[in-house]
């Protein structure tokens, strides 16, 4: 079965009703896409097919023949850093799905619209407000804009702790 994943052509040999989710994780080693419920409710498995957000747990492999699939591994966007900074992620299971869905929203999305359009993504940790902040800021940020890395902060925290021991 031929299709494109993150811009690269792939040819997968698997049974035709295998879930796209399992093909990505098992046959292609792309484990960024997560399984939450396996029944279309939680959105953890969200990927883009020809630019549209879908639950990869409900898509049979045979239905992506010739299609363009995009997974979290193919995303490089300020929204990722915004999720870290705004507390949009805790355990992280829902995060790749949220980011894939969010990437289909317009940059000037309102809170109400965001709540509606992200209703197919569930989070059991954050309480959503951090996610909405992250989406809003991330979509507004210019692509390629330099975001200050959080790693610097972590290092200095670590050093402090070491010193105090």
């Amino acid at each position: 079965m031929q299709f494109t994943v993150n811009g690269k052509k792939v040819n997968v040999r698997a049974y035709p009703m295998k879930r796209l989710l399992d093909v990505l994780r098992e046959d292609l080693g792309l484990t960024g896409t997560k399984e939450g419920c396996g029944e279309g409710e939680c959105g953890a498995c969200t990927v883009l097919i020809n630019g549209e957000a879908v639950c990869s747990c409900l898509v049979p492999l045979a239905q992506v023949k010739g299609a363009r699939v995009k997974t979290i591994e193919g995303v490089k966007h300020p929204i990722q850093e915004a999720f870290v900074r705004e507390g949009g992620t805790q355990c992280g299971i829902c995060t790749p799905g949220f980011i894939m869905s969010a990437l289909t929203l317009p940059a000037n999305v309102s809170l109400k619209e965001m709540q509606e359009r992200l209703a197919g993504n569930l989070c059991r940790c954050t309480g959503y407000m951090g996610i909405y902040r992250a989406v809003k800021k991330g979509l507004k940020a210019k692509r390629g804009a330099k975001l200050v890395s959080l790693r610097v902060k972590k290092k200095s925290q670590k050093r402090k702790r070491v010193r105090s021991i």
């Binding site: 029944e39 957000a53 747990c57 898509v59 049979p60 509606e116 197919g120």
Partner: protein
């Protein structure tokens, strides 16, 4: 995933006539569209079918187009397509409301109108709209094409009038010269199975004032199939008394208790929805225009 997907056969339909042939020569095969119902049942392990037919590639079944004096919506049209269609917006805006209330955007991008009809859940959100609109379902097989009134389509809980080898090709929506109304009551605003859905049309056209069909009301989740509240329609058409009509409605429907709601809750909500709608479209505005 409980069903062993590796053991399932998935046949490809190269064209519509090929699909008809496969349906005829493979008794028991299940057609698949967006799979948003089928994969959930496969996951639960409740679906015993072992052979499936992939319709997804048949783009001719995805068209939404005006055909003379009706709107034809292909069975494979997704909710997202319906929501963005100008013709649907003009012709049957209550279908846009219904489609927007289904699932989240991931489900709307994949779920199809034909799948909602084929699945035939009494809670299917587009079904009351099709019932109130008096839509026609177009079916096809190697024997040819036939049309069946949507209000004759269901024969019992998840049972329909299709022959086993038939496919749903499209739905035809006649012109509705009326005000359309749709309301879904669920547990939360988005992505929730409905507790009750009501769709209604009421014609304000002076020429239709003697037509008993000028008022059409349909409910989902109140019976084993979507239902038209025919007696309630007649009651309202006769004297416009909403209290009487509510009584008629309660005698006409016998909802059940299940894990989502009690019968009493469903009756109460149905009667309230009827009053809410009637209050908005009230006979006064009917006479005025």
């Amino acid at each position: 995933m409980r069903a062993a997907l590796s053991t399932l056969k998935f046949l490809e339909a190269g064209s519509l006539s090929h699909a008809f042939k496969i349906m005829k020569t493979h008794p028991g095969i299940m057609p698949t569209a967006g799979c948003t119902d089928i994969y959930v049942s496969l996951n639960f392990g409740t679906l015993k079918v072992r052979e499936f037919l992939n319709l997804w590639g048949l783009s001719e079944l995805r068209k939404i187009q005006m055909k003379g004096d009706y709107l034809s919506i292909g069975s494979l049209a997704t909710y997202t397509q319906i929501i963005h269609s100008d013709s649907v917006k003009k012709w049957i805006p209550m279908l846009i409301q219904a489609s927007s209330s289904i699932g989240g955007m991931q489900i709307q991008n994949r779920g199809t109108l034909g799948g909602n009809i084929g699945n035939g859940s009494p809670a299917g959100d587009t079904l009351p709209v099709l019932a109130a609109a008096e839509a026609v379902v177009v079916l096809g097989s190697t024997e040819g094409i036939r049309r069946i009134s949507f209000n004759m389509f269901y024969t019992g809980y998840r049972k329909n009038a299709m022959n086993p080898e038939e496919l749903i090709l499209s739905v035809e929506i006649p012109r509705i010269k009326s005000q359309q109304w749709y309301r879904k009551v669920g547990t939360r605003a988005a992505q929730a199975i409905s507790k009750i859905v009501m769709a209604a049309v009421l014609s304000k056209d002076p020429e239709e004032q003697q037509d008993p069909r000028r008022i059409r009301i349909a409910f989902g989740s109140l019976a084993p199939t979507v239902i038209r509240a025919f007696r309630t329609e007649t009651a309202l058409a006769e004297n416009g008394n909403i209290t009487e009509a509510q009584k008629t409605l309660l005698s006409e429907i016998q909802p059940i208790d299940d894990i989502r709601s009690t019968a009493l809750y469903r009756q109460t909500v149905a009667a309230n929805l009827l009053a809410e709608w009637w209050g908005k479209v009230s006979p006064r505005s009917l006479i005025k225009s």
